[in-house]
């Protein structure tokens, strides 16, 4: 039972970490995207 807690906890922790990082990057992109004109966005 202790094994299951560690294993599932490990997966949950990993996914929460990467989801949080992804959300932060996307949020920063949207926030800054409003301030930068489209012609300066080389990816568009």
């Amino acid at each position: 039972m202790e094994d299951a807690g560690f294993i599932i906890g490990g997966y949950v922790l990993t996914f929460v970490t990467v989801a949080f990082m992804s959300w932060r990057v996307l949020r920063a992109g949207k926030r800054l995207g409003k301030q930068v004109p489209d012609e300066d966005k080389y990816w568009l």
Partner: protein, 277 residues
């Protein structure tokens, strides 16, 4: 990574053209993002469900489908940082895009090393009975993590973007030399950590087929995640740099206008004094 002062970043986008409000996403990143989510779903299915338990490690082997891919992708991320740093440092054009790629890749690699260390500690608790040992592999990995925290800290020091790029490029090219040390630490010193099962020198992969496939799914999932993150983060950094430059330009223009106004005001006051006399 350069921080953007919100007060300086409030430039009027209408001055230079319309901003659509679109962030850093494109069709390509959306496809990679969806593929990442699907691959992560497969990782959960195979890592926690379909793959068998190990004869010695029992169920704890399931943690390795996250632990191993995250450190491999962290190695890759740090190699990308070193190569991009070299491209900036030795390149003729000194393109800041290389510096931003180096910084973005190092950030993601550092997070992946943190995940590796935490998951490894959980695996160690189940397998060795302790969360941490001052073992060669664990210690060198912790050192790698601290080194890249330092690299990211150096990126946040003041100065121009070029100064940031030069400083961090040197560290980025030196820090990557730790990777061989981490990887071969289990052979160089008598380590508690097991030796490489897949990336060993004998090229003999003695793993169950489903276990190997689960590991492969993990590598694909975290590779896609890395690619998706590095694309978005590099674009965010490009916008941060642009707004930093604009903010500095605006501040300088405001300062010049203020200095000009003071000078004109001073001259007028001088004329008025002369007139009174």
């Amino acid at each position: 990574m350069t921080t953007t002062d919100p007060t300086l970043a409030q430039t009027d986008p209408a001055d230079d053209g319309p901003a659509s409000g679109i962030g850093t996403g494109t069709r390509g990143t959306r496809i990679i993002g969806i593929a990442t989510i699907v691959a992560m779903g497969w990782l959960v299915a195979f890592g926690l469900g379909f793959s068998p338990e190990d004869r010695d490690q029992r169920e704890s082997v399931r943690l390795l489908y996250v632990h191993v891919p995250t450190i491999w992708i962290a190695y890759l991320a740090f190699i990308v940082t070193a190569v991009a740093s070299g491209m900036y440092f030795f390149g003729r054009k000194k393109a800041l895009g290389w510096d931003r790629l180096a910084g973005a890749s190092a950030e993601i690699g550092t997070v992946f090393v943190a995940v590796t260390l935490v998951i490894g500690a959980m695996w160690g608790r189940l397998t060795w009975g302790v969360f941490w040992q001052w073992d060669a592999r664990l210690t060198t990995t912790a050192l790698l993590f601290v080194t890249y925290i330092g690299y990211l800290a150096v990126r946040r020091l003041g100065g121009t973007h070029e100064q940031r790029a030069r400083r961090s490029a040197v560290i980025g090219m030196l820090a990557v030399l730790e990777i061989p040390l981490v990887h071969w630490s289990v052979r160089l010193w008598r380590s508690l950590h097991q030796e490489a099962t897949v990336l060993g020198t004998d090229a003999d992969v003695s793993m169950d087929g489903l276990m190997l496939f689960s590991l492969f799914v993990g590598v694909v999932a975290f590779s896609l995640l890395y690619l998706w993150l590095v694309l978005h983060r590099t674009r965010v950094m490009a916008m941060e740099d642009l707004l930093d430059e604009r903010g500095l330009d605006d501040a300088l223009a405001a300062r010049r206008a203020e200095a000009g106004g003071t000078q004109a005001g001073g001259t007028q006051a001088g004329v008025a004094q002369e007139g009174t006399a």
